[in-house]
């Protein structure tokens, strides 16, 4: 077997008390695609950052071409031949393709750009990735996402030394057909003897292009082996393989009258319509892959993002989602995913952050509400066990978990009927997580309707009484709270469950498709181009001779 060009051995990395990686080993072999699998939070991004020099490892060894790398920096690692193609594109949108390809090393004489040399080199680089009809002068901003992704790859290939390419979820923003083109290109790179690390959430892609799979779980190596040893079930088990801990509150709740009902909500002209409801005292989980439209759905329900059609009822009364203010008055609250950008008012004090949403309802003739509201806010913060020196200090001085508590207190002070959480525990350490789960459970028990969006499956399953899975902006199916992570993954990645083609295949898939979704189901086909027949793609060698033969159609 060929010697790996890059080898990581026993790599560990901790962020404060959180162990992000512990004792992980990884080898990248020329001419092979190594797929990195794992749930959100399993440590994939950390591993990539260690690999590309963006993060310093705490311990373990890192070798490129057998030479140990002691203190990697992004520049030195790149010079050594390890290149990365990121999910968030690193291209400068206002510049031309050629300029982007050679940014930082533009051919120039005494500071004046040598235009023709730049054009020629760019032409060559673009031809290499099959973009033969793309002009090097095209402005990046105007290119479709897939082309940009290919330009990104072309840029990586223009580096002086390319031995390893890391792909971090390159197909997230692409359509099926575009993804297919990209995958074909990766296969061509493999034939040229490139070593590649491919990170994706889409299992079917791994089987299509992978040679080897490395599975991370909770920051450590779960399993690794040739992908031909795996089928989808085994891969999912390797990714999940964990007891759902008792971190989560007991679910003995009874869904009462509907607190929120959404009918025929459509966010764009051609997007599928979505129906959902959550009863008072019920926790509805919403699952799905990144980009499945979960956060957008919450923002639309909250009136913060425009919708094209749809009716909303809060507590039985119809509401027009004309803006956050209207929805707030109707009794809906939203804790956003990105606390810093879409939640906190960093310069303001903790108290001011809590009361901001309730000022108007408590105010008399435009004056700030009196002492009572502040005292109520303090009581809420006390009951949430906020840890702060003083409630007058700026909210930006708090840790992530405490910031989340401040936002929770903000919405509780508005006395909502429905509370929506978008990734409630993102960036929050384990201790605070448990507390938040308890609070969410208590809130539901006290009669609030709760919606939780989470990418972290154990959390979703542990909290929710009922789970709605989204895929490509549509409801892919509904699962009971007793569903397994496998069920959710299947529905979310479209490798079973709701897909019509899977009716014959999946063992325990296709679970309890809710009665109320067929309308939205029917709207799926136009958005997804016709998929190839479920036979294994006719790609070269070691791909999927997996015994399971579970249909991986979409």
């Amino acid at each position: 077997m060929v010697r790996p060009v890059v080898e990581l051995h026993g790599v560990s990395k901790a962020f404060g008390p959180v162990q992000a990686l512990s004792d992980v080993s990884l080898g990248l072999v020329p001419g092979q695609v190594n797929c990195l699998a794992g749930e959100n939070g399993a440590g994939k991004s950390t591993l990539i950052k260690v690999l590309t020099g963006a993060l310093r490892r705490d311990s373990g060894s890192y070798e490129i071409d057998g030479r140990p790398v002691t203190a990697p920096s992004p520049a030195s690692v790149r010079a050594a031949g390890v290149q990365a193609v990121y999910q968030e594109l690193s291209l400068l949108p206002h510049l031309s393709v050629a300029e982007n390809l050679f940014m930082g090393r533009l051919p120039a004489r005494t500071g004046i750009i040598a235009r023709s040399r730049l054009q020629n080199r760019a032409r060559k680089a673009l031809d290499e990735v099959g973009l033969t009809d793309l002009s090097p002068q095209a402005i990046v901003e105007r290119l479709p996402a897939a082309t940009r992704q290919l330009v990104e790859i072309a840029k990586v290939l223009t580096a002086d030394s390319v031995k390893v390419i890391v792909f971090d979820e390159p197909t997230t923003a692409l359509t099926e057909a575009e993804s297919e083109r990209l995958l074909q290109h990766i296969l061509r790179l493999r034939e040229r003897g490139m070593a590649m690390l491919y990170v994706t959430h889409r299992l079917e892609e791994m089987f299509e292009i992978g040679d080897w799979v490395t599975v991370l779980r909770d920051g450590s190596l779960s399993e690794a082996g040739p992908i031909s040893d795996y089928d989808e079930d085994r891969l999912i088990t390797a990714m999940v393989g964990r007891e759902i801990s008792s971190l989560y509150p007991e679910t003995h709740r009874q869904a009462g009258t509907p607190a929120l009902r959404v009918r025929g909500l459509r966010r764009f002209d051609r997007s599928p319509s979505i129906d959902l409801h959550v009863g008072s005292g019920e926790i509805l989980g919403i699952g799905g892959l990144l980009g499945a439209g979960r956060s957008g759905l919450l923002l639309s329900i909250f009136g913060a993002a425009p919708i094209v059609a749809g009716q909303l009822e809060v507590g039985g009364k119809p509401v027009k989602p004309s803006g956050p203010c209207a929805m707030m008055n109707a009794g809906v609250g939203l804790l956003t995913e990105d606390r810093k950008v879409l939640g906190l008012l960093p310069e303001l004090s903790i108290r001011e952050n809590v009361t901001i949403a309730s000022l108007r309802s408590g105010s008399r003739r435009g004056l700030l509400p009196g002492r009572e509201q502040v005292e109520e806010a303090d009581r809420l913060l006390d009951s949430l066990r906020l840890r702060a020196g003083s409630y007058d200090q700026p909210v930006s001085t708090l840790s992530g978990g405490n910031q989340q508590k401040v936002l929770l207190a903000r919405w509780l002070l508005t006395k909502p009927k429905v509370l929506m959480f978008d990734e409630p525990t993102k960036g929050i350490d384990v201790g605070a997580k448990g507390e938040l789960y308890t609070v969410i459970g208590d809130l539901a028990a006290s009669g609030l309707g709760i919606i939780v969006v989470s990418s972290y499956l154990p959390e979703l399953l542990g909290l929710a009484d009922r789970i709605l899975v989204l895929r490509d902006g549509a409801v892919a199916g509904e699962l009971p709270g007793s569903a397994t992570e496998e069920d959710v993954l299947r529905l979310a990645s479209g490798s079973g469950g709701a897909e019509p083609a899977a009716e014959d295949g999946s063992p325990d898939g296709g679970p309890s498709l809710s009665d109320e979704v067929p309308a939205s189901e029917r709207t799926i086909p136009p958005t997804i181009p016709p998929t190839p027949p479920p036979t294994p793609p006719s790609t070269p060698p070691p791909t999927p001779d997996d015994p399971g033969g579970v249909s991986r159609d979409a």
Binding site: V341, P394, T397
Partner: protein, 366 residues
Amino acid sequence: MPKLIWREPIETTTITNRPPGGETDDASALETVPQPRQALEPKGEPRRRVITLGDIAGRESGGLVVLLVAIGALTLASDEFLTGNNLSNLARQVAIFGIIAVGQLLVILTAGIDLSVGSILGLSGASTAQLLVAGVPILPSILLGVGIGTALGIVNGLLVTRALLPPFIATLGMLGIARGMVLVSTDAQTIQGVPEAFQVIANGTVLGVPNLLIIAAVVTAVMWFVLTRTVFGRYIYAVGSNPESARLAGVPVRMVTISVYMISGLLAGLGGVLLASRLGAGIPTAGTGFELSAIAACVIGGASLFGAKGSAIGAATGALIMGVLNNGGNLLAINAFYLQIAIGVLILVAVGFDQLNTRRSAASGG
């Protein structure tokens, strides 16, 4: 697509002083160090440090110190400084300027900027003078003059919130438009012959206190009240801190933004009327460069151009500092050009100190 503005990175404190091996929920062990700059804590928690001026006066403290030092130094250096005549002179010089600075402050608090205040001041003043000369009674003339400023302020607000122009550009455009309008309407000629009764407004006194000072004090007091005691005031800080967060917390961001530009325009209009009254004439070029001085006053008084930091008292203090320095320079016969240098240095020092403070409090984990 929501427009996200990323500003200064927000330092968060991760609590690390957890007792080793202890999973206790001992709140005191997990307490973060209190921020140096914060109001006094009424709950009487244990505090490990001396109360500083900053605790009492907040971000304006630096400005207050500078102001007191400047006044003290001038009192010693010049016999004339602390005379009633000079002080009322100083008050008249500073008042109009302070009114504009307070209006500018509201805009700066929302992380915006209003470059058009000087031009609006000129337009309002000259228009009022023209109306008066044309025989319109005093009160309607004043109302119309202030109304012009208010209207242009609303236009600024609409340009920022509806046309989504950056505040700098929107008000830069208005700066040119308003100045051009006044030059066209007056044909660049000074408007003379305003009634005596109108001139009394800015030049008169009540019990020896110049009217202008009273008006400026009232404006500052009202703005202080609005900013600290009303929902609208709190909304202004929220919009300046993070407009998207504010919107998602139910703050009517557009309404607040339009309102602050409107108020800034209104106060610029008021300043124009008062200046016309003080000079007894409508001067088309009046107010040129006032916008930058008003911004300087806000910054010296502790406002942050990134929004959400600053106070009405601070802006007034900043205006006073600049007035006192100019006045002292005159008294001591210092070349006015050196004064410009001094004020420039003052701005840099004020902001430099603020940055240093922010960084230090972030580094100390407060």
